[in-house]
Amino acid sequence: MKASLHKFGEYVLLMNKAISIPDRWSMFFKQLIKEISKLGVDSLWIVIIISIFIGTVIAIQISLNISSPLIPKFTIGYTTREIILLEFSSSIMCLILAGKVGSNIASEIGTMRVTEQIDAMEIMGVNSANFLILPKVVGLMLFIPVLVIFSMFTGIVGGYLASMITPSLPTSAFEYGLQYYFNSFYVGYSILKSVIYAFIISSVASYFGYNARGGALDVGKASTNAVVMSSIMILLADVIMTQLMLA
């Protein structure tokens, strides 16, 4: 308990150091573009592939499980849409991204730490936390919502594909279900959640990388810990936000 409080304190101090005015804006924007393309754009394909498949599977699963004649067929489209918009594209997608992007951030910063590259920056008089962490945090907070929108879209396309190949699920009913009682607030809510997850992933992974000590093995450990911790934090944040905003 005392150790985790201590770590939380360290985390807050590091974020305090990282979130400040950059030494040079031109360098900050250069880094920001790099991070967005490396962490964000490069994740696009995995987001699209996973979303299409999961969207398809969700629709098929629901159609298999709702076989009662009392429940109209369009419920399948409706439920698929709600699952994708509310939970899958934001929370589940961000859990997956915590694995991909979080481990990437932690191992990059961790390697820089153990090979003295961070010391080299400090000795030049550069605020290394600000230079390394801020562009990642800002980059992810800007780009993860874009990924989430892609995921929503391709997830629903996946469900639509399922309606075309599943006889028990008529396409027209699915289409009707997709539009049935649509609440655009849910899209905004999901995007807002994803911005918060983006902050969690980038800042937690940066913290574990920045505090890595030792050698390559310790960098590996730091990266594993970063993924585990940011996943837990995402789930916690999900519960809290769902309670606050929807309940």
Partner: protein, 257 residues
């Protein structure tokens, strides 16, 4: 010139540096030598302000580093260059980008002038034409030279080198030593080198500070080393037969003069 006054540093009650006073002179290569674990790295880290000593003063041409606030320390650091043991080149950047980095962060010159300066530094360490390579694509000796180019890009007054020869073959070590020595004189820097390499001691030891178990045991130049009667120093420097022979011959010559 950098002056250390009564520097004491202990970790959890264990004294690693005990009341060390010495000066590092301008335009000279000042060597800190001693066995592994004697406190050399801790001493350099104190001098550059990565570790705060428990007691003492560290004067950079009269300015006390320990009394500085964060901002003053950052300003002073722009006058420092450092060569790390493992080179510490940024591995996501090319050699040229590495050398450009301090200039892009801190110099107010135009982009063209920065590029000119970076290319001058690369030429000075004989790396012209390798600017486009990544650190993973070049040899250890080239990495050291690239790191030197980066360290001198902002024209520092003070240069620090932590074990500059570790991991290099003897010939490359000599080249790196000579390079550091030459640029120290050329740009009139105050250079502090922490080493346990005896070749370096005899080659570029303008001024030598011998640390033993956290205490300054001996101080002098490379010529003084040959004549010294300090037992610990002789034990350390002349540990190998070859060096002992050299010393005997030199001493005989000195006596017969």
């Amino acid at each position: 010139m950098i002056e250390l006054r009564n520097i004491t540093k202990s970790f959890e009650g264990r004294t690693v540096l005990n009341d060390i006073s010495c000066t590092f002179e301008k335009g000279k290569t000042n060597l800190i030598i001693g066995r592994s674990g004697s406190g050399k790295t801790v001493m350099v880290k104190n001098v550059i302000g990565l570790i705060k000593p428990n007691k003492g003063e560290i004067l950079y041409d009269g300015r006390d580093l320990i009394k500085m606030n964060k901002k003053e320390l950052n300003m002073l650091r722009r006058e420092m260059g450092m060569l790390f043991q493992g080179s510490a080149l940024f591995d996501s950047m090319t050699v040229l980008e590495n050398v450009m980095y301090p200039l892009e962060m801190f110099s107010d010159e135009s982009n063209k002038e920065r590029l000119k300066r970076a290319e001058f530094c690369l030429e000075r360490v004989s790396l012209t034409g390798s600017g486009h390579l990544y650190p993973s694509e070049i040899s250890g000796g080239m990495m050291k030279r690239a790191a030197i180019a980066r360290a001198i890009s902002l024209n520092p007054k003070y240069l620090f080198c932590d074990e500059p020869n570790s991991g290099l073959d003897p010939k490359t070590s000599l080249i790196i030593d000579d390079l550091i020595h030459d640029i120290t004189q050329e740009f009139q820097m105050t250079t502090v080198i922490n080493t346990h390499d005896m070749n370096s001691v005899m080659n570029i030891g303008d001024k030598i500070i011998f640390i033993k178990e956290g205490v300054k045991e001996w101080e002098g130049s490379k010529d003084d080393v040959i004549l010294s009667t300090n037992e610990s120093l002789n034990d350390f420097v002349f540990a190998s037969d070859l060096f002992r022979k050299v010393k005997e011959i030199e001493l005989d010559e000195h006596k017969s003069k």
